[in-house]
Assembly symmetry: C2
Homo-oligomer: 307 residues x 2
């Protein structure tokens, strides 16, 4: 069982009310890979980087069981760079700098060894590229999870509609769900979005948790209340990595198991925000993860027998 | 086992993006009573009204098992009146009119028949009055739950500190928890507030659910995702009524049972917002409540065996 992950590998510079990072490693595919590799090997990465991307990071990825054959290295290019500043609530942020660099020429080509993978995580890149990746599989993956964002709803809605038709699970935040459906109520939004292709919709609400919609069912997973959120960057991608990593490991894509997968995703997101960048995801152990998942059980578990 | 409820009985006029009410019955003690009476009888009401308060409403309260001996009627007075307009998000609102009327002379006197009740819900009134009610009990209630608001933190913080010392559970919203503790993180806020008297803290987050803190434990109950929130007025009081109603019915004030009580409170709040005022709380049946509580079980229940 293997997992293909498409997304960015990049540099980030992050400011929060509590601190400021140097130029550190970021990008959606990095967070997904470092979260998913705790559950499934190999994670087959599809991305593009410049010659400034540190070799040690590529070596570390490989050590973690991440296959980088699908990562294009542009010899005279610079890696994607993003810089942002979080507000006090840590839920909103301003983008200070976006330098696309090599990302502007991203044209994902799947290595042959990727083409029969059973799980595909389409990180947030241009919808036409996401579609192109799907089309290169020789056998349709068992599960395709799509991440996207408001920017593509504004600028590439037709392409986004097309790729949605090809996917099983869509992962967006609450304001994106409202924009995509033109409904304020998330329940109404979900009903509309579930007619647009995916059979499963996950709405991420940051510190307020995540909702899974499927047919007439709803499942809710809280975010873990934390003493401190140090850096929210990558939390959504870590969530995605834990989610699809658990599904790929258990080879079970039932609604019941997706609920459990959302708890795993929430656990990985809760680690991610404890330090800058991917640092915390890299250091957590299987035991840390088991303890954290148990914290989620404690958090929501109540005794119906006491009714 | 009986429950004493202190709070307002009033008129409200409510505007939402979806509709506008006439001058309807409201007030914290009304919502608490109409939520709690599904679980416990009698609910012993302590409040003050003017001669404009409809007799039919008092009769209806009595029919529902609410004892109104402790409700002072001021023959030449007018009942408390509040008018507000909700914003599109239904989480924020502007107060348009506040007329204290008889509330400005509220001086709660407990009837003798109330003085040995085991459960006390102190709705959001002036902290010095809340304290005065506690002092009139001949035996300290088994459980005292305190509701309050930012207004009293701004204007009567010393009195609020005193009454907090006398209570078991404090019920506030997230911004009030931040104000009371001077901490942004709700986990840090909870640690501070739990040193100020109450052994249990419930932080209400509206559509984002509620958190229960006790010692080093945290429990989270989501709000039910609804197609439409029609009128959020009284949701917090309905939550309080369901919470203390369940505890009074089961006579069990353990942490485990408080978790279940929070689910019951969330269920009652989810009914409250479906119609204007107390209308929906009055019409729900035991069966409706059982079905709704099961919706909460479905909403958060996941299979740890699938890990």
């Amino acid at each position: 069982m293997s997992l293909v992950v498409v997304g960015t590998m990049a540099f980030d510079a992050i400011e929060t009310p509590f601190g400021k990072s140097d130029k550190i490693i970021g990008g959606s595919a990095m967070y997904v890979a470092y979260a998913a590799n705790h559950f499934i090997n190999p994670v087959k990465q599809v991305s593009i980087i410049g010659n400034d991307f540190p070799l040690e990071e590529l070596a570390h990825l490989k050590n973690c069981g991440v296959d980088t054959e699908g990562v294009e290295i542009v010899p005279d290019g610079k890696s994607f760079f993003w810089s942002g500043r979080y507000h006090m609530d840590m839920n909103t942020r301003d983008t200070l700098v976006t330098e696309l660099n090599v990302l502007s020429q991203f044209n994902p080509v799947l290595p042959d060894s990727y083409k029969e993978s059973s799980f595909l995580m389409l990180g947030n890149v241009m919808p036409s590229l996401q579609k192109k990746v799907i089309e290169q599989f020789s056998v349709r993956p068992k599960l395709i999870v799509l991440d996207t964002m408001n920017f593509w709803m504004d600028t590439a809605m037709d392409d986004l509609r097309e790729v949605m038709q090809l996917t099983d699970v869509i992962l967006i935040n609450d304001s994106e769900a409202r924009q995509l459906s033109n409904e304020y109520s998330l329940v109404k939004a979900a009903k509309k979005i579930l007619t647009m292709g995916p059979k499963y919709l996950i709405i991420k609400k940051g510190e307020h948790g995540a909702l899974l919609f499927h047919q007439n069912n709803v499942f809710f997973a809280p975010a873990l209340p934390l003493d401190e959120v140090f850096d929210p960057t990558g939390a959504g991608d870590s969530f995605a990595g834990g989610f699809i990593g658990h599904l790929a490991r258990t080879k079970d894509i039932s609604y019941e198991n997706m609920k459990t997968a959302i708890i795993v995703g929430s656990a990985m997101a809760s680690f991610c925000v404890e330090k800058f960048g991917t640092e915390r995801l890299k250091e957590v152990t299987k035991e840390d993860i088991a303890i954290r998942i148990n914290d989620f059980v404690e958090l929501v578990n109540f005794d119906i027998a006491l009714m």
